[in-house]
């Protein structure tokens, strides 16, 4: 009996191992290049690394220095302004467009792809286009003047106090269509029997949306928030292409701060500390969401 099953055993054993072997290169890559690197950067943030990684521990010195740097505070405050406006405006535009598009619109098939195409572009392309569109010398301001509105002023991109809002404009242009698509998918998933019943009860269109439809879109709101928040924290390319962090330091974000402190200012320890803070911010947003998503499925 025993010798009969050895052949089968070997085969099943092998079959047991093959899936794990197939998964192992990806697993190894992930453990090294993602989690190993996170640990490494975390470690570096406690060292006195300057131009190259070094391993002399200095405790929390880098974090203390970081939070005393006005450049870091500028980046953090900018991120708060940018993220809150970006998330709010994208959600508002996305929801409005989705609701309006869902009213049996003729030409929906044409409008939807037009709203969404910016998402296919690189932030560098978006940044380049908006950089010159918002340039007071050749862009919208100039066009308005040529059309006869000579007092029109739009020089935010050159204005230290307003430049961060030009980043919001370009970023909203790029992503709001995507948020529209998320809400539209949510709307299309709502059972219309509920709505019909409410309509028969005499609910007005406005209260129909406020009381019934929008509360039912909760999952879409949550997804939109998480996606937009994590995009905001990661924003780097758009800043580089649109303003280069300027004028002065007016549009620096944590991502551009990290890059310049690490690679051009030779303060790798501080750069690593700022990267750790970015990661923690995103982890605080993503982990509960991903956990809930995974739990729901199983």
């Amino acid at each position: 009996m025993a010798y009969q099953s050895t052949g089968v055993d070997f085969r099943t054993r092998l079959q047991d191992w093959i899936p794990k072997l197939v998964l192992s290169p990806s697993l190894a890559a992930m453990l090294i290049f993602v989690y190993g690197f996170i640990v490494f950067t975390f470690y570096l943030s406690f060292t006195g690394s300057k131009m190259l990684p070094s391993f002399d521990l200095v405790g929390f010195e880098n974090y203390a220095k970081l939070w005393n740097l006005s450049a870091w505070w500028v980046a953090v405050v900018n991120l708060m302004i940018f993220a809150s406006l970006y998330i709010t405006i994208c959600t508002a535009i996305g929801l409005t467009l989705a609701i309006l598009l869902d009213q049996k619109i003729r030409g929906e098939g044409v409008l939807r792809p037009i709203y969404l195409y910016p998402m296919a572009l690189s932030f560098i392309v978006t940044g380049t286009a908006w950089k010159w569109i918002m340039d007071p010398g050749i862009g919208i301001e100039n066009s308005m003047h040529l059309w006869g509105w000579t007092s029109f002023q739009f020089n935010w991109i050159k204005d230290r106090d307003m430049a961060i809002y030009t980043v919001v404009i370009a970023a909203v242009w790029q992503t709001s269509g995507f948020v529209m698509a998320m809400f539209l998918a949510g709307l299309r998933g709502i059972d219309n029997e509920i709505l019909k019943a409410a309509q028969i009860d005499g609910a007005s269109n406005f209260s129909l949306y406020r009381r019934i439809v929008i509360p039912m879109l909760r999952p879409a709101f949550l997804s939109a928030f998480v996606i937009l928040a994590h995009l905001a924290v990661k924003s780097y390319d758009l800043i580089i292409a649109l303003t280069g962090g300027g004028p002065g330091r007016a549009t620096e974000l944590p991502a551009t701060f990290m890059y310049s402190y690490t690679f051009t200012r030779n303060s790798m320890g501080i750069g690593a500390a700022s990267a750790v803070i970015m990661l923690m911010t995103i982890a605080a947003i993503m982990t509960p969401y991903l956990y809930a998503e995974l739990k729901e499925k199983s």
Partner: protein
């Protein structure tokens, strides 16, 4: 009352119809405007931009800015145009997309049909890795690429994009295969089919749509990447980095028309994919955000 076909359409009168179409059209103009500006101004002589209206169509139509952007503009120190960088991007994107898609398909297959203890944790770790800010890996990656002798090379960029692309490609295939009946796989196992045979004969033939979604997603992301290209590109910079160098160059006259032509060249591959397969592009976006 007309039958309500679309889920949340409400009864609206003539005036509010006009209002709705009005808003939708205004937003259409908002989204189209930058594309119009890029195309129109890439076909103008420079003088018409600096001395004219950016929102107007060209008076003299010219393809010269396109030729300049493609093969003559100064990028960094060399007057090569964007052509060599376009080729760099292609050489980087094709292998990175192929490898990450194949690995994603195999991982998704293992995680759904050959589940084992701990597979949930592995998937959770992979999923989280999709969303990390890449600043957290830049320093060690620079060190490791240097040690491997891959710094500033196309293979180095391919490695980086594969490593950070596996998370999403696995996510897509896992969610797709999860809804595929496991009984069929069981039945094939009882018939004596092995791991690869089942993958090849049963899973792959039904994987068409998800392969398209994954390839498009990876292609768009990798083509559009700037951070890794700028950090590790060295002599093999991709298109996005070259475009940025072209636009930001501080020497000489700012040739806006060439910048716009270059921007369109950088956008063209992903835009074409979007136009041809927009449906799949949207599916990828949604699958990457609203899982399930």
């Amino acid at each position: 009352m007309a039958a309500v076909e679309q889920d949340t359409a409400v009864r609206t009168g003539g005036i509010s119809r006009v209002f709705i179409y009005g808003i939708l059209l205004i937003f259409m103009l908002f989204y189209m405007m930058p594309l119009f500006v890029m195309v129109a101004n890439s076909l103008k002589p420079l003088g018409e931009i600096t001395g004219g209206n950016m929102m107007a169509l060209p008076e003299v139509w010219t393809l010269e800015p396109w030729r300049q952007a493609w093969s003559a503009a100064q990028i960094g120190v060399e007057p090569t145009g964007l052509k060599p960088y376009f080729l760099n991007s292609i050489l980087m994107v094709v292998p990175a997309v192929v490898i990450s898609t194949i690995l994603g398909a195999l991982n998704g297959y293992v995680l759904t049909k050959w589940s084992f203890r701990g597979d949930k944790i592995i998937f959770g770790l992979l999923l989280f890795s999709c969303f990390i800010p890449f600043q957290i890996v830049l320093i060690p990656m620079a060190t490791v690429l240097g040690k491997l002798g891959l710094a500033g090379s196309i293979p180095g960029l391919v490695l980086v994009h594969v490593v950070y692309g596996i998370g999403f490609s696995t996510l897509y295939f896992r969610n797709y295969y999860a809804s595929f009946p496991t009984e069929l796989v069981r039945a094939a196992m009882i018939d004596g089919a092995g791991f690869f045979r089942i993958f090849w004969r049963i899973m792959l033939p039904v994987s068409g749509p998800i392969i398209v979604v994954t390839v498009i997603w990876q292609f768009t992301n990798i083509w559009n990447d700037f951070l890794f290209g700028a950090s590790f590109g060295g002599q093999s910079q991709p298109m996005t980095v070259a475009l940025n160098n072209l636009v930001q160059s501080s020497t000489g006259v700012k040739e806006y028309n060439v910048h716009f032509a270059g921007a369109i060249l950088a956008a063209l591959p992903t835009l074409i994919v979007y136009i041809i397969a927009g449906r799949f592009f949207v599916r990828g976006l949604m699958a990457g955000s609203v899982k399930g």
